[in-house]
Amino acid sequence: MIAALNLTFLVFAVIVACAALNVKDLLSAIVLLSAFSFFMCLLWTEMGAVDVAFTEAAVGAGVSTAFFVAAIYNTTRRTKD
């Protein structure tokens, strides 16, 4: 539990979350959401929750992104906001 590392990862997570909500392309938004998920994984490793971080790296950043990309492939990339 290192406070400086924790603060850095939290700031990056907030920036990436805001970027994922504001980018004008859905595929980019999903890639940014994957990056957000990976920062969450780093945060949990830093807090000592290794099992949860492992699950997040396998499920959140891996399989979840594959689901989103599959849904985008069947719908559209276009968004207005």
Binding site: G48, A49, V52, T75, D81
Partner: protein
């Protein structure tokens, strides 16, 4: 005041993340963006639960074998494993329910040809 800011600065970031996800769920027009906001909201809450379990001076909850043989396991040396277990199940269930939400989005796109909320409402009024 300064000490209060230092000891609780993490909670402020959790609140900012929750607000980001909440705003995305309410204000965005695209349904996929709403789903992304919901995911951010969910992960912020999981992050708060995990941070409850952390202890200053504690290590990861895998018990040292030598200490266990000597019956000298002290609970203060290890991080609380209970929130980890609850959130481990929450993450996997969250991904499964995200799969159902994406399925519903695919069905909506097949029926209306768009994912924008206002265009769907226009199509529903006809």
């Amino acid at each position: 005041m300064i000490e209060w800011m230092v000891t609780k600065h993490s909670y402020w970031f959790y609140i900012i993340l929750i607000m980001t996800g909440f705003y995305g769920m309410m204000a965005k027009n695209n349904l996929m963006k709403k789903l992304i906001g919901m995911n951010i909201f969910q992960w912020a809450i999981i992050l708060y639960y995990i941070s409850i379990g952390s202890k200053k001076g504690g290590t990861i909850p895998i018990i040292d074998a030598q200490a266990a043989v000597r019956h000298a396991v002290r609970a203060a040396d290890y991080i609380n494993p209970l929130p980890h277990v609850l959130m481990l199940t929450a993450i996997v269930v969250g991904v499964a329910t995200t799969g159902i939400a994406l399925t519903l989005l695919v069905i909506i796109y097949r029926k209306y040809g768009t994912l924008e909320e206002d265009e769907i409402i226009e199509a529903l009024k006809k």
